[in-house]
Point group: D2
Chain length 414, copies 4
């Protein structure tokens, strides 16, 4: 025997083929499936793995770990890739990879394997994580092995193999796109979506209802943050304080109101552009609420530096699969530091595809003072100070104006 | 006589008082009012100014200049202050200040004056612009002159003065907040809005209808960009290619669909936090469309650098009134450069408070290739390359993993 | 009596005048002088203060605090303002301001005062620190009080006042420039130096000997860093492990070898350019050594992010007097974090005006591996990986090349 | 025949082997050698190439192109990789790659080849350039072909092959390190230098004399910049205005004075650390002079943004071989823009290993004003403005102080 492999197994045709093929190649295979909140028939996956020959099928519930350690960190960061993508898939990868490596270690596997293709982000994300976690791990990525690729050139080759090897095949018709579901979002890409001029089909979305069919009555909710983390959700008479329950409740509210759909073209780590659609109800609501909590409680200069440095880089690092890296650790240290006083409660309104802020309060933070902000009140404020402030700031600008005049360009011309 | 003042005159109680007070103080006053698309009874303002004693009332239509030179630049930049504010007021200031300085020059004024208070952003924005445009200009800012402030301590003092001096006072009841309207947005702040825990009143918004009362039928539109600039809007059978008409048409569509309302707390230049509400229909739609146009046509690394450098700084500079500055010129040069190939047409859907992207195409740009992006196609692509790419990127990460292990921290632990 | 003032008193003509003038104005004055390593006749200052009427003269030795909390932090940061200035004066200000506020509090002073002018950085640095430390403190800055400025328009007015009031005046001829000395550096500015085309006089420098007269024999030294902090200096048979002794020994070595002189034009916080000369022997040597320690022990990506974010901003914040600010705290948190493994020993050579690195080692850190770096060794390294790495990185670049070709610009043309 | 290859040929043992091996493999080989200012016996290389079987040997003088388009751009940028490396090798690569691709095209080659190893930066730099310039070019990198590597596992295998094939071998003893020489610098790495604790040998440096043996008399020089470019060098009675002559003259001055040696550990693009020594006399002098020219003539805020954005990224991009990339073009556009008014003349002193600034002037630029900078002059300056400036800047800081007090941390404590 060549050794023991821990395979990320989903129960689908691809990974079922890999599961069997690895055995053909002389490996013992331990299957692993992470529960990160996706829709799944867990028992069916378990029995299918066993049927195809897995020596073990390990399913781990990572939902709480995923929500608390990744999703909430992304919320603290206001994370967004390229201005729109809330990183649902990227956030799940570190949690899954880490758990798979724990299983590999516990089961004594020298190898790990997965069914990702060679052109997407996910194979990169998984393997960079595997190699950081255990620099000695050996990776089998069948879709990057020429022999495997040549043998299985299309869905029919996989079906033929399944037939020949007695691999059960679900009769459900394949969707005209790929999906990746977890508690943070569902992603849709490839297939018909590869043409960016074709709108996404109405019946594609799974984590959000159609905004056009959403209830006519808005739902107002309150989210309380402590140290930048959501600690309480209030919806009518219901309150949620457990992280996972709060997240699930927000997903339900957002789903019904059709909140959090995006359809974008994004730049993959390898430099190719691809089109992806994502629906992320809870994340969308939480991000806006957190943004507003910060507005009330974070110093403006810290915020400006944080936006440039932390938000941008943390988002990019996560997207590129660099969670297990010294630079992510470095950036995240800053992130956590700046959240120490993000304590506020935000009232939001969810309605037909969008969420908006209604009002906000903080019991403990005092950076906002309505009295000081008031244009009418001049207590503790000398209007002469503003004159000095302007004049000092104008020192450089006057020189600029003179320089432009010298160059024959009047700044007063439109 | 002390000299000639060019006063930014709106026709309201404050600037009417200033107009008269300046004359009391011995100045001749030329009034100036910029038409940047606000709702206004221009003739009434004109006759009021004359009645109070202005030697001249100059009203200039700056709408096209405002839309083309500022609003569209902001769109090219995806400009946003603190993650949400589309800068409507900030964008208008340079255009107004520049025109006022032209008038001052043409009318031979050594002084300019305005009615801004000492604690807000606008006085700073206007004056930094004035001083850059003409370093020798002398500024009279009555609300920063202690004598003036002492004399006029509240609305009643102004009304008494108006009564004594025969200044006409509009009988309309004052709103419980201040507004600043222009073609890009209307802003609402101060008064009752100073308490951030009080939701904005439903009847406050002027540039957007209530999303809850918006039509049940979504409106699909197409916006075409050339070099990052919107050059064509198609709505049903109508097309708009003139910049101003296009902008106005988008405002109308956005108004009806209730798109572009925000309610935020922001950090003023002077370091105070204040609460502002803004509705910016056309800008909101254009920003999303432009973001999507860039996704399709801009290189990913350029975009990442641009986001950190140009978008952040241009937005902050505009907010802080530093349009006429060498650093704005420096940053904007980069901005324009990176828009050379942002040529795309975006289809969007406007519906009850939100706008979303449906699809996009580009006639000329080829950075996106559905064939290359396809996970199924391996033409022109060696899967082995990804292995190499991963392994090289993992060199550092493996060392990180070993370092962590050495420190007794297993990266595989949650 | 108007109250009690804590005055930053140096014993010079300016602050002696202020000391007396404050009494004339009806204040009781407690004098404060910080020992940050400057050359000073402490007893003379003390007795002069008493003679002029100070109710108390407090002299505090802040040298160790200054070196450990500010100078060493700057070293960890590789701090440099505008590419050259090592911030000697800026680093001392927070330590001095903080101590003065302690004294003010202990002595029950409601006021603090200083002798800084209105156009330099120091008045701003001190007062921003005072106001952050105690938002209620009242500041008397005579050189920004018009009456004071009008009364004392030149050195002669000060001398006349001194004569009239019996203030002792040192007979030493005033230097044709101002100096500010502390253990980190001596600064020279103003006076004859205001003309940037005039070279600094040879006899100006006090903390460095003339490189042209430095010994012909180079001095090799070893500096050991732990967590980015210098913990041991070895020079021949001598070793120094106490922070202050180490710093003083380095100053002595650097002085003799003429290391650390710069002559620059810099941009003051208020936007004016000014010319300054500085000699900073220990800081110059330590900065290079630390830079080299990091090269050996810090991850490259962390370093790149740190350079952009921490080094730039921390330096600028310190220069602008924003030590006591949330943004400095935010940035410094990152700085300290990234120094956890900067453990290395650097051998340097000091010789006639310059310091250079000879070699470096680390007992504990293993990011550098000569075996891996070796071009000859291919163990643990597949050359095919580099091919993949190149090909993936080239995906975007090929598109760029095609785009350029399309635009008619051949990238192969010079 | 398999086709025609354009090989980067240096005349050394490695590329001579490759030249012959390519012919063994069935290719026709056109040799190319770039003259970027390195020491070389051009005729010997030419005849050796012919002797080994090259169908053609093309040598192109790229010195002027190299100096003007790369070295001077680096100077305008104050380019430095990781705070010390002036990028000598990195700057030469784009010029060489571009010329090689011109030759390949002119000679009808479908292939290009080079002798770089798989672990260094240079192979990556060359190939990324090749692929951007001509996305269809086919690259033969023998040191990344397993068969080639296996066959030639050490110097002895190369010598045996040379012997068998009649390849002339220079009898000079190989240096215990590798060198790469061009007009910007000479680099030294590998071999004995791989151990970072071993000092570089005294006799290693070729472009700089030993500072300890440099003349006792300092040399003063004047460098004039226009738009950030060096346009005139004055040394005693000699002036140089031709770019190449100026650069060569500076190299000569710097060599004699021993200016520009560094010994560093750097982070290669692939993530490995390596040790390199470099001597770059002209570049070192020019960089300091340009830095000083900017201090006098560039706005402070532009400079601060430029330092963060342009200097950092341009340097990193060049180091990583990304000259032919949209992001380099993007960044460089900013760079050139900010140099429009960098017009100044700088006087420097070169002496025993270091260069220092003596003084500076500008005939045209007026951002520096000694009168304004003067602490004594208060004309055009109201000291009250500084008070206002401080008070407004303190608004945020006071809140910070209050927050800290609330947290029980006194900012006055050391």
């Amino acid at each position: 025997m060549k050794g023991k492999v821990c395979l990320a197994y989903s129960g689908g045709l691809d990974t079922s083929t890999i599961l069997r093929w690895l055995q053909d190649e002389g490996y013992e295979v331990v299957c692993f499936l992470a529960d990160v909140g996706q829709e799944e028939d867990w028992d069916a996956v378990r029995s299918k793995a066993k049927k195809i020959g897995a020596s073990k099928m390990v399913i781990l519930d990572l939902k709480k770990e995923f929500v608390e350690q990744l999703c909430f960190r992304a919320i603290q960061c206001n994370a967004q890739y390229e201005g729109r993508y809330l990183l649902g898939t990227s956030l799940a990868r570190p949690v899954i990879a880490r758990a798979q490596m724990r299983v590999a270690q516990e089961e004594g596997c020298d190898f790990v394997s997965h069914g990702c293709t060679g052109k997407g982000n996910d194979g990169i994300r998984f393997e960079l994580a595997f190699l950081a976690i255990n620099p000695k791990i050996q990776i089998i990525a069948p879709w990057r092995i020429p022999e495997f690729c040549n043998r299985f050139q299309g869905r029919n080759d996989l079906l033929d193999y399944a037939d020949a090897k007695g691999i059960p095949v679900t009769s459900t018709k394949a969707k005209p796109y790929s999906m990746d579901d977890n508690i943070a979002h569902c992603s849709y890409e490839a297939g018909m979506l590869e043409d960016p001029s074709v709108p996404a089909p109405d019946d594609m979305w799974t984590r959000t209802d159609d905004p056009r069919k959403a209830p006519d009555v808005p739902v107002d909710i309150d989210i309380k943050f402590e140290k930048g983390l959501p600690v309480k959700l209030t919806v009518g008479d219901n309150t949620y304080t457990d992280s996972l329950e709060l997240f699930i409740a927000l997903n339900a509210i957002g789903k019904k109101a059709g909140i959090g759909r995006i359809d974008i073209v994004e730049n993959r780590f390898i430099g190719l552009k691809s089109r992806g659609c994502y629906d992320s109800p809870a994340m969308t609501i939480l991000r806006l609420a957190h943004l507003d909590a910060e507005s009330l409680t974070m110093d403006g200069k810290v915020r400006s530096l944080r936006d440039q440095f932390v938000t941008h880089h943390w988002s990019e690092l996560l997207y590129n699969g660099l969670y297990f890296s010294p630079e992510r650790e470095f950036v995240e240290n800053s992130l956590v530091f700046c959240q120490r006083r993000i304590n506020a409660e935000i009232r939001l309104c969810c309605y037909k595809g969008s969420v908006s802020v209604l009002s906000r309060t903080s019991e403990t933070e005092k950076l906002y003072s309505s009295e000081e902000a008031s244009m009418d009140s001049l207590e503790n404020f000398s209007v002469l100070d503003t004159t000095g402030f302007i004049n000092v700031n104008a020192i450089r600008l006057k020189k600029y104006g003179m320089q432009k005049a010298e160059e024959g360009q009047s700044l007063s011309k439109a």
